[in-house]
Amino acid sequence: GDSVTQTEGLVTVTEGLPVKLNCTYQTTYLTIAFFWYVQYLNEAPQVLLKSSTDNKRTEHQGFHATLHKSSSSFHLQKSSAQLSDSALYYCAPQSGSFNKLTFGAGTRLAVCP
């Protein structure tokens, strides 16, 4: 099956500075897409970004990520972090079988003033 490794634990960044959350993966031939989910405090996870195209930059809500199949990576970046970005972030490859997602352990982002 698929496996995901994310930046461990807590990432703390000052408001206005750039942030990068790492995601590397091992997947099977059944993997069809890659997602970043975000979970705000006391809320459900929701999709932030998604991609299935190699070497194509995907952007949403100021975040961007590029799928690099050669290095098995799908890192999440933002050029200027905002206080409202504080949340738990999950990287998740999706299998074509039942649209199953395999979630990493998650990275908690704390943006400080």
Binding site: A33, A44, K50, S52, Y90, F98, N99, A105
Partner: protein
């Protein structure tokens, strides 16, 4: 946007107790999933289903049963609850087929087993 609801939102039971968590989705999605969320482990798939009467085993199924009674309703059953099953449980649904079929999550049920 898909609407996924869960009940109860909070539940406390004792070791050996019998618990049923309910999930309903109203967007006619074929696929439904049950996850548990624990710090350091992320979201882990317990069971999933592609339609009424169907059940597929997920990655952490031990101690859990599930049943999909209709396209809308998916239940998670803990027949002999243990403290290790204390967790935050999420239900999700997804449309069948196609690319980028997102999973839409419910608000979660926090279960405490004493």
């Amino acid at each position: 946007e898909a609407a996924v609801t869960q009940s109860p939102r909070n539940k406390v039971t004792v070791t050996g107790g019998n618990v049923t968590l309910s999930c309903r989705q109203t967007n006619s999605h074929n696929y439904m999933y049950w996850y548990r969320q624990d710090t350091g482990h992320g979201l882990r798939l317990i069971h999933y289903s592609y339609g009424a009467g169907n059940l597929q085993i997920g990655d952490v199924p031990d101690g859990y049963k599930a049943t999909r009674t209709t396209q809308e309703d998916f239940f998670l059953l803990l027949e002999l609850a243990s403290p290790s099953q204390t967790s935050l449980y999420f239900c999700a649904s997804s449309d069948a087929g196609g690319f980028y079929a997102e999973q839409f999550f419910g608000p979660g049920t926090r279960l405490t087993v004493l």
